[in-house]
Symmetry: C2
Subunit: 484 residues, 2 copies
């Protein structure tokens, strides 16, 4: 052990070596204190990885999007469903295949084992099964949780906007309506040009059967096909042959089929031409008959031009049983912005009777990004608040004065804030920063005279003069001015 | 061990004893099968204890309440904040005292330790500290999580509606506004008569000092006082004397003070009368000065009649430093329906600089219960959907026909559903069940004639005749009819 004195001497020697001005040990202590203090200050609270806060302008963009989405959902006669953020672990088990490892578990603190929801589809299916429901059109806008890798830019908490129709209806009616809703959403959110790729699981199954793929390999070959939007056919073929044991000949036959894409009714009629192999296969024949009904409905509803019938669309999730679809932005690198399909066996997995269902999920985080980028490009200023009037008391210590005036505005349901300060510029800065269009000004003159002065801050086509009002009439006057 | 044959004989004998019709062993097996199957069906999925789903009518009530609340919050210039449902565990630690045991932890699956939020105040404080914010008016409507006892009727997941103002403003300005907001919320939610009890932590501290309570016992005696709304003074006195070691004399002095309650300005002037012990105590003198400014403002804003200045209000949470308040329904057994107060030291607990703050939280679950009860009493029928038009195709297999017509309505932003069925009563039942006011009917006649028939279903003062329209004009006609 060394004495403090000895250490002090060594530190002084070292410091003198590196610091020719040599202010010695006290200066060193000051520096240490400085570093410690700045670290103290830097010990800020943090967010969990992969999560975010949203405030002010960002929140305004989100609220606008949610309101558009909710209006579209309600327009189709759906009601909202709100489910708990966590479910019994057994409810989620066996639903997500390999992705189950991404499910967040709640700690076992005694009692039931629970997990955070991974999507909104399984809670919906659980709700329908639990309540013995046979028909339900519901929407849900809520956050879901996935222990994904934040370093890849993936979030661990993010919103999904889901619309599902469960129950027996007019054949292909719900399937048509779900795709129509997706186009309405993307149209009204104004996020640019897009297309909806569409295919049918039974058509894929038929296609694989025709190509000679053994049935037990249908699902795994589907996941290979699903990669065709990111990989070349040569890469996918390699996977099918080397990893999944198909013959090169079978893989090439698949390659020929999945090239097919085009306008719905056009490609459909090509696939149904005399001599088409699809007509000899029961599964694909059924699929083509269903698609025929659906495409006719989409054509009549005037959204057919948004749809691309694409035999290479396969979708990852195992539980789809019929129509599948995926919306992508044209010319943007954001990938899928919404997807869904028919899943007739999921609700029955809860041990109750089968209820057929079809649904879609909007990839709202990508939509937000696009909306924020567009706002930036168009240099749109987004007001985070909707305050219409600032009550400006330009005399100090007059809270009661402010309270009396601003409460009259609040009671008249006018969005208003107040400020008490004799520094005039504070008032104008505040109004300008928040984009507040009107001021109710009260200075010494107004105070003694018992009136207020109304000032318009936004530059209109005609410059407005300030206008004085009695304390009894200014609310009525402002209501008139605000409704102009 | 007995042979199967022997068991079969015994069972037959027993069955014959209880079942004189005696259909023997096969009938027994059938019964067993029936029981097993019905149990199979009863193995329904479940919700975690203490959680609920909300759908349809209940959801409509909630949405209405949220919309009222959000409008009030926005009227006061607040912006929404959205924070993750879980926080780093260290963020929540040391904030909730004894209640920390109610915090839900996320399982340790590698990575950071996280917990579900327990309230919205700590995430707000974390956000303000983390972003170095000095001034922020925010609201948040979101679910919080507590491992409370569901057998006591407590929920483990429930909504809170919080409004907080952080930053330095006009003295007592934010305190006044927060209480005003609480009265606006309760007025506009129309949940019956209520009062807001109000007190000041520094006044309580001064009072305890005057009574001779040692400072280290202030907080624990406060929690005893806080029980006075549920227990008699004798019970509370017993706790203060026997459990917390006060002398009987000191407890009685406290008893005299906490009896005081009344109209704000009235009781205030009594407590400030010459000779009042409160004037000699620094802490209570400061509190009375602050309350004076606040009560004047509340008086001028015309909500003073809702406030009861009550020296027995103490509030459980440790972090309050100034004004505290709690709203209760008059004549109802629901307890607190909203509460809050000033907490000037919480944000600084994150190692950054202090930012003073005051806020409130609305106990929205109780509000929902009251609203639902009122709806029931008034026999109000709540429509879960807002569908205005049902497109009724009364010919089978005509999805495309329906799609063409209903899409025109959707594109005109009319809330519409469709039904394809030749069974007339199905259409009318559907419209009646959902309370849909208009039908666009298409039967064989309309189909061949190329027109539609509009039918009004709600009985108005004048009975309306059905009216026919061309396929090009029915949307315009409906828009006119709906705006009447």
């Amino acid at each position: 052990m060394h004495s403090l004195k000895q250490i002090k001497q060594w530190v002084e020697q070292i410091l003198n070596l590196f610091n020719p001005e040599g202010r010695g040990f006290d200066s060193f202590l000051d520096k240490v204190k400085e570093i410690v203090e700045s670290n103290e200050n830097r010990r800020l609270p943090k967010l969990p990885k992969g999560t975010r806060d949203f405030a002010k302008e960002q929140m305004a963009v989100r609220e606008k999007a949610f309101s558009i989405i909710q209006n579209v959902f309600k327009r189709h006669g759906a009601t909202a469903l709100d489910t708990p953020v966590f479910e019994l672990r057994e409810t989620l088990m066996g639903k997500y295949g390999e992705d189950s490892k991404l499910v967040y578990d709640i700690a076992d603190q005694g009692g039931e084992l629970c997990s955070l929801r991974y999507d909104l589809t399984v809670p919906f299916a659980r709700y329908v099964a639990m309540n013995g429901i046979t028909s339900f059109k519901r929407y849900q806008i809520a956050k879901v949780y996935r222990r994904d890798n934040p370093s890849k830019g993936r979030y661990r908490e993010f919103y999904q906007c889901d619309f599902d129709i469960a129950g027996l209806f007019e054949p292909m009616g719900p399937d048509f309506e779900i795709v129509k809703i997706l186009t309405e959403l993307l149209d009204e959110l104004e996020i640019g040009d897009y297309e909806v790729k569409l295919n049918h699981r039974k058509l894929l199954d038929g296609m694989l059967e025709i190509c000679g793929v053994p049935p037990e390999k249908f699902r795994t070959i589907c996941s290979s096909i699903d990669k065709l939007d990111k990989q070349s056919f040569e890469q996918v073929k390699k996977e099918m042959v080397e990893e999944k044991g198909l013959s090169s000949e079978i893989a090439d036959r698949i390659g020929n089929f999945v090239k097919e894409k085009g306008a719905p009714l056009e490609l459909l009629s090509k696939l149904r031409q005399e001599g088409s192999e699809f007509l000899d296969n029961q599964s694909s024949r059924e699929a083509l008959d269903e698609l025929s009904i659906m495409f006719e409905a989409l054509e009549r509803s005037k959204c057919s031009h948004r749809i691309v019938f694409d035999l290479s669309l396969a979708r990852g999730l195992d539980y789809y049983t019929g129509v599948i679809f995926e919306a992508v932005c044209i010319g943007a690198e954001v990938g899928s912005i919404g997807a869904g399909g028919r899943y007739d066996n999921l609700i029955g997995m809860f041990g109750t009777k089968q209820v057929p269902a079809v649904g879609m999920s909007l990839g709202i985080e990508r939509v937000f990004n696009i909306m924020e980028e567009l706002n930036e490009k168009q240099k749109q200023v987004i007001r985070p608040t909707e305050t219409q009037v600032l009550v400006s008391i330009m005399v100090d210590n007059k809270l009661a004065e402010a309270a009396g005036l601003v409460s009259q505005l609040w009671d008249a349901k006018i969005n208003a804030e107040y400020l008490v300060s004799k520094r005039k510029e504070k008032h104008f800065n505040r109004a300008k920063e928040s984009g507040i269009p009107w001021m109710v000004m009260v200075g010494e003159k107004e105070l003694s005279g018992g009136f207020v002065t109304l000032k318009k801050l936004e530059k209109g086509s005609e410059e407005k003069e300030d206008q004085t009002c009695s304390r009894d009439s200014f609310v009525g006057e402002l209501l008139k001015l605000l409704s102009c």
